[in-house]
Symmetry: C2
Subunit: 269 residues, 2 copies
């Protein structure tokens, strides 16, 4: 393989498995090269990646040293994404009964979800999480993508205990959105003791559901180390949780006035 | 930017958005290069990608021509993945009551899901689908990943109609796994008329749930053009659907005998 091709292959392999450390020896064996050549290749590869604005390579020093791809997104691209997201949300054909807003198409569209994930991966890169957790259903692609970028396993908390989950722990919580008591269940096999968990979800109104997840993680002896939410409702101003990071705010929603107000959170970074 | 870096950047940009066509002009503008240079770069990039065994570049001829990244996986890697998957499944600590098998950790692990997705993306690359559909919950990361690789939107069919989905169509179907009537609901906004749909799911026993999805897609005037299932139970031999592609078969499952039988489907390609 020529050097140019080697660098291309290096970029593909590393960026396909974000945040996963590879030893230099792995590439020496793969390409049949000396470590010094691989080190040089990594520098060039990192430079090429930085030019795309989608990430960079980080080398891990020491005898067991290696290299990993760190996904990234620039402040400029975060703002562009927020604006695009808000623009899509403001489309009043999304208005549903009870002043709910239809968002499934957005949260099932990889074109936007993959960029949203990068924002949260950047935000929570150093939070020390061992897991990413979400509660079904709409936030699953986003949470899965964030977990992929951070090289972490995903936990999906179910609304209802299912036989295929084995024994579960269930809790009840009050959902402001649905104005009623809701239930969530998590498999006892889903998490190891003393874990640190990053919560990712598509939407938060009063924070009841996130509080439920926090309580659930606590039941398993775990600790929540970060909360990333794509859309945060402005009302109620006082949430049940305080330490969350929202990407955009949902303001007034009214079928009568035909309005959906959406505002970027410019204080995310 | 030097040529080597340009090729690295090209690989990153194209492979980050699989199956998405980019015009050559896009890269000419991005790198400030002539089309002839970009064409040469694409050839080198495609060669480097082929060496990684993870995909290749396909050029689209004509005046509006362009290039896209086609994700791929070799027969050898498919077999290795099947064997690893079977190995993990056979772990008898997965045995649950009622001879169910715990698989959530596998389907929420991007390390295996991203490779499973490549198998289905290769299999259904030319099926002409406009959407990938699944029914919640466990198959969502897999279906989302396949949708990403094929550059298609995802549809998630819910078990229960929710207010945030707007008006829905609901159907009832018989689930052999749970030995009871189940319900599924799909938002009227989820799909355009006359669509072609690829179904991706984590597990199939008798095919009741997939038949339900087919019926549902039919209700929307759509057509199912492919069915990809990660784990297919050997029993019952006679399924309600026939045109499915399973990655591995689940044979005997017995808590008493402490056995989980898992076999690769060697006739997938």
């Amino acid at each position: 393989m020529k050097r140019t091709e080697r660098i291309g292959a290096l970029i593909r392999i590393l960026s396909e498995c974000p945040s996963k450390p590879y030893s230099l020896q792995y590439f020496c064996d793969l390409f049949g090269c000396a470590k010094s050549s691989i080190s040089e290749d990594i520098q060039t590869a990192s430079h090429a990646l930085k030019e795309t604005g989608t990430g960079y390579l980080e080398t891990i020093p020491g005898a067991k040293g290696g290299v990993k791809f760190v996904p990234d997104i620039s402040n400029e691209d975060v703002l562009a994404l927020q604006q695009e997201f808000c623009e899509r949300l403001r489309d009043t054909s999304r208005l549903l009964g009870g002043n709910f807003v239809y968002t499934s198409d957005i949260f099932y569209d990889h074109g936007i979800v993959s960029r949203l994930s990068k924002v949260f991966a950047r935000k929570f890169r150093n939070c020390g999480a061992n897991y990413v957790a979400t509660v079904e259903t709409k936030g699953i692609p986003l949470a899965y993508n964030v977990a992929h970028l951070l090289n972490l396993p995903l936990i999906v908390i179910r609304r209802e205990a299912r036989i295929s989950e084995g024994s579960t722990v269930s809790i009840n919580y009050f959902s402001g959105s649905y104005d009623r008591l809701q239930k969530m269940s998590m498999s006892k096999r889903a998490i190891k003791a003393d874990s640190k968990v990053l919560i990712i979800d598509d939407f938060m109104r009063g924070g009841g559901s996130v509080t439920g997840i926090k309580e659930m993680i606590g039941e398993f002896g775990g600790k929540v180390v970060g909360i990333g939410i794509a859309i945060v409702a402005k009302e109620p101003e006082k949430k049940k949780v305080s330490d969350y990071s929202g990407l955009i705010y949902l303001g007034e929603v009214s079928s009568e006035k035909k309005i959906i107000e959406a505002i970027p959170n410019t204080e995310l970074f």
